[in-house]
Symmetry: C2
Subunit: 460 residues, 2 copies
């Protein structure tokens, strides 16, 4: 439990009604999407940037550990208070869209704003915020920036880092800094915003985020390519993109996912579907959409596709996407617990990566259904185990470790979207050499010399 | 002069033929585009990454200062050895395009490769490397990354940082690290590549750069908008973009530049041209090009344009661009020396920024012709003074300082493209508060604790 003197100090900053240390709150803030639990010693809700500053200054001086938290929807434990201390909850007060600047096509938000709320607000004005993590309906933009969230539209539109123009940040000592500008170009000083993105709340606390917006494209259609094998589909991914296609999304479902969708959910899919690619194309003019669809169809057929469907109307488009949207929940037929990782490889390595993933699964006797964002090389790999079987759990983790080593050997990364947090910390030495890890520690120390901010995450 | 023992040590690393301390070399490597001179104590040409590592390790241990240098074409002294020590010259050996990976649309280059050489090499293969600084014919990609170079195509295609996927870097202690991957998504570990971009050679020495490529758009046209006043043109910039236009480039010439082009170079321009906007639009389909031109024409006319020209054929397009390309050399009619800065503001602030720039110039009695990349808010501001008049030089610098303060007050930045280096170091306290500057110093120390790498640049 947090010492009373600390609780009182925090209450004097944010008011009694914004500091909680009752059991209900401690339990409520002990979770994230990893389903691992660590209870904090208190939960504090800052009302504004000055509160954040005062809280950090106090905690820094008194060695109280702080874990910033948005929606707690992360997959790697970034928002878990694994070392005790306080949760800094951003969703209660720091949740306003401060400005939508139509003239510069920029949005200014507080970190607790939910991704989809911003998407909806800007789309009403004819603008577009592309990053669309699967958690878009509940994850916060502060969390999105801290994890550098991706999503389905990354193939064409990139990821969160491509939209962050500027940040206001409270450093662990309580100092308030700005990083970046509401300008396209800015090369004055170190790119502090660049290193804060994906830093998982370990370097500073975001208090304000300035995001780039785009004009909303006027035309869009959806497509589905049907392939006899995973290898054909994976070849079609990088060959269609190298041929000049620029789809908004190119999502992949492997044969196990197709099987699960049919068996568990009764979804009708082509009988010959060994793998599917599903996605959208868009453009300012109808001809751009047709141009994209033509490249995709030609490349898909040239790489073995046995079918290529196009959907125009919303209902039909939703139909094509229905399979993809239900992939995650369908695969439980292969095991009660999924060990899911989000590896990313250079796109041309997708065929060999998938082949090796299945081989590693087979070696341990596991099904490993895969799906995800093939268009940007990012695949969600699900090692399905019996959650009640201790040996399977251990073997499952060995399989994951082998998969990570293989991915790194192919020039890929431990995580395309989810971050490292606690869950992947043990694998950092696979991906980074001693010098690289020493540099991470030096950077952490430069920002947070007393190590009060989300310590021991990211393998630090 | 560098101690003999250091010269011998460096020769033992890279060979006698790659270490020079003769006067001719020291003079040749004492310049950059600022025309300020600082002679190094020796010039060293590493042959490969291992040479760089051995040189840095030695220099770090013996407190020998290192200034990395590409083509020496920078505008702010980033490559000037202002504190003596050695120049690490990358253009002699580290100048190869290592790979153009068609399957993943990625190029891997050494830092000494000239920007335009990469552009040409990839365009032969139907691919496209967009960043096009005005120095593209001679500046190196290592320099481009270190300064985060922009260019004319930034309005649509962004700047160097948007194309850097991965770096190999030698840290000051000689350690070799990789930062980033040949993947679209990568959120494992801190974004070290992000902070190395624009770090002006102060944090590490780049040994290899992996750059994202795009498919080359198939259609393009050029346009020119003729405006009676600068204010009209500046309003047209942000209003056309907010209306959904996405031009490749939107370059601006003010009335002084138009006057200079007519008087000095005899270029024929519309009689009613108080300001011009010149640019390109492109697309995969012809209709996208027409779509862009329609938005531009409508927005330009709605904002006071008296003419809108379109050019399709290369000869006509070159004709439209001829004025822009000669802007810089024409303005010498207003003064023998130009104090040129590259401020950047949110686009909607362009009208007021230009108004204030002219007012500051008028206060001191200077003409301040302006031109540049209006489409991304980045304007080259030229305070024209008599280079032999000491008072004018002093007044000119006061004018620059006032301009910077005004730009920062408008939410803009000291530099859109050129960096800080030595030239703008004195203005860092205008743009950054004490906490921000302390953080820059802490970051520098985390990478380079002995301060051997390009010290005292960027106001550090």
């Amino acid at each position: 439990m947090l010492k009373d003197i600390h609780l009182e100090a925090l209450k004097s900053i944010v008011g009694n009604e914004n500091v909680y240390s009752d059991k209900a709150h401690l339990i409520a803030y002990s979770y994230d999407a990893t389903r691992t639990r660590y209870e904090p010693e208190a939960v504090v809700f800052p009302r504004d940037e000055n509160d954040i500053s005062a809280i950090l200054k106090y905690c820094n001086e008194h060695q109280v550990i702080i874990t910033p938290r948005g929606a707690g929807s992360g997959f790697t434990g970034g928002a878990l208070p694994a070392n005790g201390g306080i949760i800094l909850g951003m969703e209660k007060h720091m949740n306003r869209i401060l400005e939508i600047d139509m003239e510069n096509m920029v949005a200014v938000v507080q970190p607790g704003v939910i991704n989809k709320d911003l998407q909806r607000a800007v789309e009403e004005l004819g603008l577009f915020y592309p990053p669309d993590p699967a958690s878009e309906e509940y994850s916060t933009l502060g969390g999105n920036v801290s994890e550098n969230a991706g999503g389905m539209r990354a193939a064409k539109y990139g990821i969160t880092k491509d939209y962050v123009m500027a940040l206001r940040v409270v450093l662990p000592n309580g100092d308030i800094i700005r990083a970046g500008k509401r300008t396209i170009k800015d090369v004055a000083g170190y790119n502090i915003a660049g290193i804060l993105i994906a830093s998982e709340g370990t370097l500073g606390v975001l208090s304000e985020i300035t995001l780039k917006l785009l004009p909303k494209p006027k035309f869009a259609k959806s497509y589905m390519g049907v392939f006899p094998t995973v290898e054909d589909a994976m070849n079609a991914v990088f060959k269609s993109l190298a041929a000049g296609a620029n789809p908004v999304a190119m999502e992949f479902l492997d044969s196990l996912v197709v099987q699960a969708l049919k068996e568990k959910l009764g979804i009708e899919l082509p009988a010959d579907a060994g793998a599917l690619l599903i996605g959208d194309v868009d453009g300012n003019v109808a001809q751009e959409v047709e141009f994209q669809l033509e490249i995709l169809e030609q490349s898909f057929i040239a790489n073995g596709a046995t079918g290529f469907r196009i959907a125009d109307e919303k209902k039909d488009r939703d139909g094509l996407w229905y399979a993809r949207r239900n992939a995650s929940q369908s695969i439980t037929i292969f095991g009660s617990k999924k060990l899911n990782e989000d590896i990313s490889v250079p796109r041309s390595k997708l065929p060999v990566a998938l082949e090796k993933i299945y081989a590693i699964g087979a070696k341990y006797g596991f099904k490993v259904p895969c799906f995800g964002h093939a268009g940007d090389g990012n695949i969600h790999v699900n090692v399905m185990v019996d959650g009640k079987d201790a040996k399977q759990l251990i073997d499952g983790h060995h399989a994951i470790e082998e998969i990570f080593q293989m991915v790194v050997d192919l020039g890929g990364t431990l995580s395309g979207e989810h971050g490292i947090g606690l869950s992947k910390a043990q694998f950092m030495n696979i991906a980074f050499n001693e010098s690289e890890r020493a540099l991470f520690s030096a950077v952490k120390k430069a920002f947070d010399p007393n190590n009060i901010l989300n310590p021991n995450k990211m393998g630090l």
